[in-house]
Amino acid sequence: MFISDRLEQVLSRLSEAIVPALCTFNPRLHLLQYILHDLTKLETRPWRLTEMAYGWCSVICENTQGAGYHRNLLLLSLEIGFRHLHPHRSTLPVKLTHTIHHRHLVDIVFESRNGDLIADVLHAWTLRTYTDEPLWLLDMCVRHLIDLHHLVPFSSKLRQLVIRSVALIGYRGFEQMGVERFIELLDHLHVGIEDIGEWTRWGRLLLDIVQSTEGIQHLSHQSWGLLVEPRILGQLRGGDDITYDPQITTYLEGAKEWEKLECWMGVIWMLWPPETERSKENLERAMVSLFRQRPGAPRKLKQWMDRWSQHDGQRREDVFKTFQWVCKRAHETSQQEIL
């Protein structure tokens, strides 16, 4: 029976009283502003308060669409529910009930151009709770997210939550807004491995980008470096849903994008290691041309493969041996050609 228990009891009671008042336009509404302001001052907020506050958002949106005086109450509720959460918190043991009414939050919050509020709403929709993440609500944010970095300064928290939102939405969600604009957003985010909680989603996202005509042209070297990160690729399995596109190798060679080709070779070895003699020969040929231009590439590739092969058993060891053999031959060939 600690004070937090009591707080939760009182909050439940209060929430029961607040909900009917939120639906009205009578003068009692004026009281709610003070109540909600008091709640924003709670330093230690029970998780259940997040659930309640998110419920208030729904009630306000349902009855007023967040217009007029209710807009302030809506934004305060959002702040009460999510402002205190650390950006790295991606799960919460509560049941957030996402309703159709919450969609009104999209325009209200993004049009406020308030980075804290935007972070609140993104947190609400990227949290893993007892309910699924509302991807349909996140999808509605795409048109705002795509240019957000031009409109709002990114705090560390907002940046983190945009990164998580981008991972959940995926490449397909942003494609329609223009690949260049999307890549510009990614460049602004400057995502590092330490920023990523969802390695699988990021791996897929980056693979989707490089396998698009515009994406392969514009994706920055930094993002290529992220794509070839063994911790990310180690989560993926090359198969039917992640198909190998040989055109990418051809394009990168033709465009003389040697640094990107180096990354791409790493991706191929980790995701789609060659199984036939013919595919080995094709890969060896590309590696020869790469090694000729980038003498440091064999060492770099070996480092990646070394880290990648240390996990997940015999198969990776076998791939690593094949890699070493092909790499050695390609290296020797490239050296002979130079001489």
């Binding site: 029976m1 600690f2 004070i3 937090s4 228990d5 009591r6 707080l7 009891q9 009182v10 909050l11 009671r13 209060l14 029961e16 009283a17 607040i18 009917p20 008042a21 009578n26 003068p27 009692r28 004026h30 009281l31 502003q33 003070y34 109540i35 302001h37 008091d38 709640l39 001052k41 709670l42 330093e43 230690t44």
Partner: protein, 279 residues
């Protein structure tokens, strides 16, 4: 110069003062700490301590002339839960009221050097009046809060805030004034106010039910701005309970004193049993 800044540890009257260990294990209450939803034994213990405090304050104010002792007793009078000691300790209300009035000159301004005494006696006066109102309107007539027109220096926000509350003509107006947290208030004052606010909301709830439109007009006229200064959890909890009372979800005082935490009827049953045990 400011004894009020160094209040004695909150007593039971500080209704929701610092959270402590649960009472269910009948652990001794750390000095100065009390809590709501008290277990029976803890409640008895606190009531005993409170009764001692009440008797002590009453005795000092009647028999001692040392100014420091009087100031300390007056300060404590603003936090002791009067009328709950079951032996009808005489409340030194008249003495406190006269002490308060003596702090002000004929020009209505507080005499130099008496700011703290004015604050502590005014606080005790208001507190006793509100506790009496919690019992009944008729009972409260024995502890009237006279209309005052005093002013306080600008630098003492606690005192001027307190005077504003005392000047207010109705329970609702007082509630509104108590809701306002000025940036110059001291943390101790803010906490005391939150506890007083809670008690006044019980009075309001008992007499008027919830806030009606005429009450809201008062609120609109005064337009208190939400505070920007940080509040501690106890203060917020007191204010949240107040909000419950002012909306349609009143939490009765009795509920806060029983072991069962669920704010439902079972608490009242439990509390009734508790009364039987005590008698």
């Amino acid at each position: 110069m400011s004894p009020k800044k160094a209040d004695p540890p909150p007593t039971e009257s500080d209704h929701l003062s610092e959270g402590t260990e649960p009472m269910s294990g009948e652990k001794p209450t750390p000095p100065g700490n009390t809590m709501p939803w008290l277990g029976p034994a803890a409640l008895v213990s606190l009531q005993r301590n409170n009764a001692n405090d009440a008797r002590c304050v009453s005795w000092i104010l009647k028999n001692i002339t040392d100014p420091e002792a009087l100031d300390t007793a007056v300060r404590l009078a603003g936090t002791v839960r009067w009328f709950e000691d079951r032996i009808d300790t005489e409340v030194p209300y008249d003495f406190i009221v006269s002490t308060f009035h003596e702090c002000f000159g004929s020009d209505g301004e507080v005499r130099p050097g008496l700011w703290d005494r004015a604050y502590n006696s005014g606080r005790a006066m208001l507190w006793i009046n509100i506790l009496a109102m919690c019992k009944s309107a008729e009972f409260a007539r024995r502890f009237p809060l006279q209309t005052i027109k005093y002013t306080s220096p600008d630098f003492d926000d606690d005192l001027s805030g307190l005077l504003e509350v005392c000047k207010a003509s109705s329970v609702c107006c007082r509630l509104v004034h108590l809701l306002v947290i000025r940036s110059g208030f001291t943390p101790m004052h803010i906490r005391w106010v939150s506890n007083t606010l809670l008690h006044l909301s019980w009075v309001h709830q008992a007499t008027s039910g919830t806030l009606d439109n005429s009450d809201m007009i008062v609120l609109f006229i005064h337009q208190p701005q939400p505070t920007t200064i940080p509040l501690d959890t106890v203060t917020i909890l007191n204010r949240l309970l107040t909000w419950c009372n002012l909306l349609d979800s009143a939490v009765k005082e009795e509920v806060l004193k029983v072991h069962d935490k669920s704010c439902d009827t079972s608490c009242f049953c439990f509390f009734s049993c508790l009364h039987l045990v005590h008698q």
